[in-house]
Assembly symmetry: C2
Homo-oligomer: 212 residues x 2
């Protein structure tokens, strides 16, 4: 870590207001500086000095893209860039996916300004950081989830996607050119995998755990 220079922060958030706020927050600091703010992912990836970024504060809900994919791309490009996910509401599933994709932490935008600073500091030191509320959300059944939840196969995902739209087994079989009976089997397998009772429960479960 080079201490002679300020730590360079970039922001990707489709809310100009948030960028303004963060800018203001760090403008007083002697250790950090915001070198650029982007409102969409393409302008981030077109950024010439991508490699000079130390920390990327990354909103997960973007207009043109989503933070989960952006995180993966950034980490692939340069794993040394510290990526901190941000959003307004925190969902377990999203936080889990971000961490799975290499993010170094997750902050709620509603966090106190102190919390922002504190988390960034710790992230630089190599820790995985969460703002308070995210932490409590995560601790309920902490990290076991990433392994214990069986995942869906490709076909299952396709069927699930149609199921979520309210399509019946018959309709799904016609859309995917499968036997009615095959679709039934897949449905049953999904219910069995997660120990659920019916389609509604399945959809709830999938939404809550971001399995699609």
């Amino acid at each position: 870590m080079n201490t002679s220079k300020k730590i360079k922060i970039a922001i990707l958030d489709d809310h100009p207001l948030i960028i303004e706020g963060l800018n203001l927050l760090f403008s007083k600091s002697e250790d950090y500086e915001v070198i650029s703010g982007f409102t969409n992912s393409t302008s981030l990836f077109n950024f010439k000095k991508l490699n000079s970024i130390d920390i990327l504060l990354l909103d997960v809900f973007l207009k043109d893209d989503n933070g989960i994919d952006v995180c993966l791309k950034v980490k692939k490009y340069n794993p040394k860039i510290i990526v901190l996910g941000m959003s307004s509401q925190s969902e377990r599933s999203i936080v889990l996916q971000m961490i799975k994709n290499g993010a170094n932490g997750y902050l709620l935008k509603s966090a106190n300004l102190d919390e922002f600073i504190y988390c960034i500091k710790n992230a630089i030191e190599g820790k995985i950081v969460f703002s308070k509320e995210v932490e409590t959300l995560m601790n309920i059944a902490h990290f076991s989830d990433l392994k214990s939840i069986p995942r869906l196969t490709q076909r299952e995902k396709e069927i699930l996607q149609l199921l979520i739209q309210g399509k019946s087994t018959q309709e799904i079989s016609e859309i995917l050119f499968l036997s009615f009976l095959t679709v039934q089997t897949h449905r049953r397998n999904m219910l069995n995998k997660f120990q659920l009772k019916n389609a509604v429960e399945l959809i709830n479960f999938v939404n809550q755990n971001g399995l699609l």
Copy 2:
């Protein structure tokens, strides 16, 4: 409208960052001033000078409360206060409910800074205002919705709530001390009301139109 004084803006948003940003935005203006920012609804309602507020910028997703209820309370207290809803993602249902509760407009936080100013200006002049994205979202089937969508009765809502949790008709009947057949009738009535095929479609419809 008193032009000798600045127009007084209050902000209720659980994101300190947003409040900071808006503060900065209006700090340059000669026409507007931010007189106070709140991060929860109780502190807003404890505010002594509530009546001096001209415009309330109101986040709909709050920790302790929700903007839809807050809007109603504020308008009840003083209908002259101009209330503009804000959120990160826009959902038809929420926007509709806000307007129904007397809000004077709705802005996405991702709106450009110019858009904020523009909308506030027009709201003061008595218009119902939307930021661009909200406008396109609303225009798809514009305001007919408020009337044309038949609404759910109390009992139907109770049953729907359980249905959404994945409960079966049998379970629901036990929970609500009703006949199995009665619950079936209510389910059927709901499907008929909205011309839907099955429970999953019903749940989607309700979520999309905020009927619960």
